[in-house]
Amino acid sequence: MTGKVVVIQGLVKRFGMLEILSGVDLEVAKGEVVVIVGPSGSGKTTLLRCINFIEEYQGGRIHLDGELVGYRESAGGLVRLPDSIVAGMRADVGMVFQSFNLFPHMTALQNVMLGLTRVRKLTPYEAEERATSWLERVGLKDKLRAYPAQLSGGQQQRVAIARAVAMEPKVMLFDETTSALDPELVGEVLGVMEDLAHSGMTMLVVTHEMRFAREVGHRIVFMDKGVIVEQGAPKQIFEQPRSERLKAFLGHFTKTT
């Protein structure tokens, strides 16, 4: 497991009788940008939500930097860890959501500072300094004191990225971060993500932006019906897809774009 930030083995996730993930194996190396694509309902989002344990999982293992996520091993199987310990693990996983989920009662700066002061235990001064520098880096220098309602979707999503990355996580998870945006705002968010990728951040990106996947991704993972069907370098996936399912999936994009 050396050099691997995320190691997922045989991951199974069920909601009641419905199986969403049916045995997913995936490893992500330090600094690697893995892009997950696939039709809706294929389990991409659920996979990300299991990695930072917003969702529990029923089978398999997820290791983050060598540590089992959410559970501890015991003789009878897996035992769920208490919330306070899980919270500490989540702090090392940055997550950006489709619907931004900024805290509406806080300014952009306060949104980024909350985790820094309450989880990372920085002093307010240090937290403000770090939050400000990240907000500047995502191009929001003049929006520090703005509330989410005063920001465009693209700006809100960039605050959300700053909020996650300021925690200095071991891996960043991006869950369809541009799907809720007007087309003209997509570029500014993808730009920030590309900047992060080039800076060496380990990233797992669920997206429908095939251009981004191809140009920024180091590896493409194609999921369908709760399993990984095919994975490989972007060139291989896009130019020589092997499985029929991937061919059909990529066909939709050449038709519409």
């Binding site: 939500r49 930072n52 917003i54 919330d83 306070s84 919270a87 500490g88 693990m89 989540r90 702090a91 090392d92 996983v93 940055g94 997550m95 959501f97 619907s99 989920n101 900024l102 805290f103 509406p104 009662h105 909350l114 985790g115 309450r118 989880v119 309602a149 959300a160 909020r163 996650a164 925690m167």
Partner: protein
């Protein structure tokens, strides 16, 4: 009018008792309500079930029955309890059931994504509630909580029936002596109204302050 002036001290003492009972009931009820509401939302199922049964039962019983049950029932169990404490307990338990629902509704109406995002940056459960969920829920909880507070002040007059000398009882005693029923009950009505109008006015100001969305 002379009656009102000469009985002034007695009315005032009654008014203070009414305020005392109301504040104590609201404090007790709000504490119970926060616990109850959180159990309804986040409790493991046995606890959730207990909270649900408590809330539904208490909301279906007249306050007076609760007051009598505690005031006359506890001594029978060997627990000596003063009239005013019995009244506060009974109304507090009743108020707690209502506030539980108010909290459940307000906190439950905050979008799921807020909890997800709060988890995402590694906040612990209590921190998620304190810094993310409660500040947003407050604006939605306040209107219903103010309603409950107004109901509590009105219901506090029931403690006069276990011989607590609150505003209601004080007025009744004076009416008994002076026969000035219309005037004195008008004074009582005005005082109850004044308390509740003040609560509502404060509530409106707080609501504006905590309205984010």
């Amino acid at each position: 009018m002379d009656v009102v002036i000469t009985s002034g001290p007695l009315i005032l003492r009654g008014l203070l008792v009414t305020l005392e009972v109301s504040v104590a009931v609201l404090l007790l009820g709000t504490l119970i309500g926060i616990a109850g509401g959180l159990l309804l939302l986040y409790g493991a199922w046995p606890l959730r079930l207990i909270a649900r049964v408590y809330v539904d039962t208490m909301r279906g019983i007249p306050q007076l029955v609760l007051i009598f049950a505690i005031f006359y029932g506890f001594p029978a169990l060997g627990l000596q309890i003063s009239a005013i404490v019995a009244g506060i307990l009974a109304l507090g338990v009743f108020c707690g059931a209502h506030v539980s629902e108010v909290i459940r509704g307000g906190v439950g109406s905050i979008p799921r994504g807020q909890m997800d995002a709060a988890q995402g940056i590694g906040l612990k459960f209590a921190q998620r509630l304190r810094y993310v969920i409660f500040p947003q829920a407050l604006g939605r909880i306040l209107p219903a909580w103010v309603n409950t507070a107004v109901e509590v002040v009105k219901a506090s007059s029931l403690v006069s029936l276990v011989s607590v000398v609150d505003l209601m009882m004080a007025i009744q005693q004076i009416v008994g002596r002076t026969r000035e029923a219309l005037l004195l009950y008008a004074v009582a009505a005005l005082l109850y109204f004044a308390i509740n109008y003040t609560i509502s006015a404060i509530g409106v100001r707080l609501e504006k302050r905590y309205a984010y969305t």
